[in-house]
């Protein structure tokens, strides 16, 4: 019984989920707390500090309890039930941290009102005219290697089609026995190539969005916040190119595993390792850089504790997480609570672009043999 792979898989999913949920309030810009715009000074006040610490402790404790509960409900020995166990854990702990967030969001909103923490300068916007010329992301040409690997995989499948076995092992259990297989067909063999192409398309789209998303410079210290923003965007652009390449290699490996009879342990382990590397990389980057570059060390910040954030636009942030502002032409902008970007829900075009990856995923599921 290869129990350890199972525990590895569990750790791979549970640890990042718990850790990132608990760490989120520490990763946001210093000018936001639980989806409420504040000044950097307020962010560093002991009151708001305590709020963060309590949220982190409670989220971690609750998630661990939910994990134990899921493990009791679906014993780990029963491998068939593993997906249900993980799904239960992810969904229930997701709901729990959402409720905790909402509680803190309301609390923070009240505190802001009580203490009169309005931002001093609500209505100024600052931008750099040469922002997009400073290369906030890598060029999409960096995805050419991904496409070359995909093309080579496609050529390999077509050239060696006759050499592939009659049935293809799609899934192994932890004992290394095949639990699901399909008859050989062009559709089944070309599926990994299809996934590669869709992934590259989604990664290129994401890279473009990172470059075009709203500048959001901090007007209290525009020059430093410009540097932070550029480093933030470039780091995630590099992360997308590198992890995209690893994923591309993974699906080429999958095609190769059909052709060569590789040991099942290897076939199970390689995807796990690649996923682990990517997740670890994302967590490391989130901690190192923070939202909008807020955690970067050594970026000269003009005056300490003066940050006022891009703008005090709480009324456009529904529940502090959904940006809805039809008057703002921006389609994409930084998330408030967390690391990454979100859409302007007041813009139908933003919905449309955000739907592209979902549509591709649906297409893929529909095509799967």
């Amino acid at each position: 019984m290869e129990q350890w792979t199972l525990w590895l898989l569990l750790a791979l999913i549970a640890l990042p989920v718990i850790f990132m949920a608990a760490a989120t309030p520490y990763l946001t810009r210093r000018t936001e707390s639980f989806g409420v715009a504040i000044t950097e000074e307020v962010y560093r006040s002991s009151l708001v500090k305590r709020l963060r610490a309590r949220y982190a402790a409670m989220t971690a404790a609750l998630s661990i309890l939910i994990l134990i509960g899921s493990l009791l409900a679906f014993p780990v020995q029963d491998e068939q039930k593993m997906p249900y166990m993980i799904l239960t854990f992810v969904v229930v702990s997701g709901i729990a941290s959402l409720l905790l967030y909402l509680y803190n969001h309301m609390r923070m909103k009240r505190l802001k009102q009580e203490h009169g923490w309005q931002q001093p300068d609500l209505q100024t916007a600052v931008i750099d005219t040469s922002f997009r010329l400073r290369k906030p992301t890598l060029s999409n040409l960096w995805f050419v290697p991904h496409l070359l690997v995909t093309a080579a995989t496609l050529a390999g499948v077509l050239i060696f089609y006759d050499r592939f076995p009659g049935t293809l092992a799609m899934q192994y259990n932890l004992q290394g026995e095949v639990t699901r297989s399909v008859d050989k067909s062009y559709l089944a063999l070309l599926m990994p190539v299809g996934i590669q192409l869709m992934m590259v398309a989604v990664f290129m789209l994401t890279n473009t969005i990172i470059s075009m998303s709203k500048q959001q410079l901090d007007k209290a210290d525009a020059a430093a916040s410009l540097q932070r923003s550029l480093i933030f965007r470039r780091s995630w652009s590099v992360m997308i190119v590198v992890s995209g390449f690893l994923m591309t290699l993974l699906f080429s490996f999958m095609s190769l595993s059909f052709l060569l009879t590789l040991p099942p342990t290897l076939v199970t382990l390689v995807p796990l390792l690649i996923t682990a590397v990517i997740i670890a990389g994302c967590i490391w980057l989130s901690l190192k850089v923070g939202q909008g570059g807020s955690r970067l060390q050594g970026v000269p910040a003009g005056a300490a504790a003066t940050g006022t954030g891009p703008s005090d636009d709480d009324r456009h942030w529904k529940l502090g997480v959904f940006y809805f502002n039809p008057a703002d032409p921006a389609l994409f902008l930084e998330k408030r609570f967390g690391v990454g970007w979100t859409i302007n829900m007041g813009r139908p075009l933003a919905w449309l672009i955000a739907a592209v990856p979902l549509a591709l995923a649906a297409l893929l599921i529909w095509l799967t043999p």
């Binding site: 709203k214 410079l217 502002n325 921006a330």
Partner: protein
């Protein structure tokens, strides 16, 4: 160059934009031939209407400060307009109300000229004491 607009000011947004871009060109922070952001990205970044940015760029083009190319987008003119007779006449026209205001408030000619000189030197790149 950094541009900042005040969304609540009495000065119209498009005037704030044109004023800052012209000052950017005057001070050398925007070089001839330098690309300016597209209408879409400038309006998204500032969170203002695209028409406002369009209007500002159209006015700048009209006055000869920028060129609008189909491919390259908006760039600062290489050959900036010169102070010809027409310009001088229109400048004098625009100065009249400003000078009148100053006179009403009992500013002397010397004070007004000193203020003019100081602003000129703040903007002009040949005076190193200028600040951004």
């Amino acid at each position: 160059m950094l541009i900042s607009v005040n969304l609540q000011s009495d000065v119209p947004l498009y005037t704030q934009l044109t004023n800052q871009i012209i000052e950017g060109i005057a001070s050398g922070r925007l070089a001839p031939g330098e690309a300016l952001p597209s209408v879409r990205s400038l309006s998204s970044d500032l969170g203002i209407n695209m028409h406002t940015v369009n209007k500002a760029y159209a006015a700048l083009k009209q006055e000869g400060y920028v060129e609008i190319h189909r491919q390259k987008g908006v760039v600062v003119q290489h050959e900036l307009p010169v102070a010809d007779e027409t310009y001088r006449a229109s400048l004098a026209e625009r100065l009249r109300p400003l000078v009148s205001e100053a006179i009403c408030r009992r500013m002397t000619e010397a004070e007004l000229l000193a203020l003019c000189t100081s602003v000129f030197r703040q903007i002009h790149p040949d005076f190193p004491s200028s600040s951004d």
